[in-house]
Symmetry: C2
Subunit: 294 residues, 2 copies
């Protein structure tokens, strides 16, 4: 059994991004720039926004932060997004989700210029993904593919079973893996699936993104399968400093002994997300630069 280390893979990604960013700056005379928009002061969201800022700084990317008050109007947020769309020095725009409940997230996402949609949540990006056209791929699914590639895990003809059908993980992953070139046979399971274990047992590659701690047990995993754990769940742990610890969807201790590859939590897929956001931002900057010189 081999552990698929998010730390190791993201380190390799950052090294490549460093080189490509230097070349980009040399060629164009400016750095790829990400604008992050946060509404309100939710501590978890603030912490995510800070991590993104740090990643930008570490790569020499430009970075812009916009924080709107919790009680801002939808129109105020949209006008910030429109301003960033029009700003040619901004290449990637990310509106931190979730938004306050009085806002219409879909309308906000659809307002982002699709050429700056580095989160890959715009319906144009999602549609192109399913059709099989080049586009921005949302960060967690892109992180999963990058880990599979890093460990040279073949997907062609393999049965990939995805547990969870969210818009940010399960559905885009299914869309990606069934495309020509990836060529996986893809099954998407979810809370309504009858006899889940008999399906997961047939998986050559099992991907769980359901958000239930220790949900995937050894009896649900085929001997020698590849197990990708996208879940990040807090469980109470009085022995831990903060009173909780992070676990995945997979019961790692019992499952790991009979699979061929497995991602740990923490230190697995979660580590990849921001690296992929940086990759998308560099890509956005490169595509926008190519468009300008046309």
């Amino acid at each position: 059994m081999q552990v698929m280390s998010g730390k190791e893979v993201s380190k390799a990604v950052y090294e490549e991004l460093h080189t490509r960013t230097e070349a980009f700056v040399q060629t164009h005379g400016y750095a790829p720039t990400l604008a992050v928009v946060l509404v309100g002061n939710d501590p978890a969201s603030q912490s995510y926004v800070n991590s993104k800022k740090k990643a930008c700084l570490s790569l020499g990317f430009g970075h812009q932060d916009y924080t709107l008050a919790q009680d801002s109007t939808q129109e105020e947020l949209l006008s910030v997004v429109r301003r960033l769309n029009a700003d040619s020095t901004v290449h990637g725009i990310l509106v931190q989700l979730p938004l306050p409940s009085h806002m219409d997230s879909e309308a906000v996402i659809e307002t982002i210029d699709q050429h700056k949609d580095v989160d890959g949540f715009h319906p144009m990006s999602v549609g192109k993904l399913l059709i099989g056209l080049p586009t921005f791929v949302s960060c967690t699914p892109l992180g999963v593919l990058t880990m599979l590639d890093h460990y040279k895990i073949e997907t062609s003809g393999k049965h990939v079973v995805i547990v969870g059908r969210s818009n940010i993980v399960g559905k885009p992953l299914a869309a990606l893996l069934m495309q020509k070139g990836r060529d996986a046979t893809v099954t998407v399971c979810h809370s309504r699936t009858a006899d889940l274990a008999s399906l997961t047992m047939t998986a050559d590659i099992l991907i769980s993104a359901i958000g239930k701690p220790l949900f995937i047990q050894p009896s649900m995993v085929k001997e020698g399968a590849v197990v990708i754990d996208v879940g990040i769940n807090r469980i109470e742990d009085p022995a831990a400093k903060r009173g909780y610890r992070l676990v995945g969807d997979v019961d790692y201790d019992t499952v790991s002994s009979h699979c061929s590859f497995i991602t740990p939590v923490p230190g697995g897929v979660g580590v990849m997300t921001i690296a992929m956001l940086m990759k998308n931002t560099l890509q956005a900057a490169s595509l926008l630069a190519a468009k300008d010189t046309k």
Copy 2:
């Protein structure tokens, strides 16, 4: 075993559309109008375009035909599409595919106003479909869902195996059936799938859209399964008037005896397609009218 008749279901759809169209005309003082753009003179495409025209006439829809020469430029086609986008008397725009090879189909489809995309091929429509937002659903997948609904076939918790991953059938059907509300467990198989029969054998609902005559044999179908045959294939038949006859992907004669429901070819899903196009056109007209009165 019950035969799912496309004729019966489309008749019911047309009856409903007749009533809704009359109400629409009464309310708005004009009819839903479809514009069909054909490039070149391929006989099959001409025949499809004619069928669409007939359907429009039968429902009292407005209808516009645009035929461009085979050697038209991409820009000529785009300017027709842009003119139709801007024409408020046109509610649905359909560019007949395939286009000549010197044209970029994706660019043409993306130029169609998404509010008039009655074919459901625009990436915005496809993206919204996968995300689970209301949108135009392409006609063949919508026809399949309509047939399932007509025969009260439950999809929740059922294992739907789709054979074929095309952009017009397999992928959008998978996206639709995995959504909340439909709640199917969905597997997408294709030419690269290993051990296809063992997967199709687990299907409660088996949908074939692979375009191979008589591909689905009884040994691939679970006793009591629902079998939906989207394939329409020509096979030589010296006894037939035209020298060929139409068969599906499913070996109907041998498979039908051990499934619970089955669609015939011809007379099955194929019959539904144009009815669904009319439904989308009425929907486009209704949504555009609602937008105008806002």
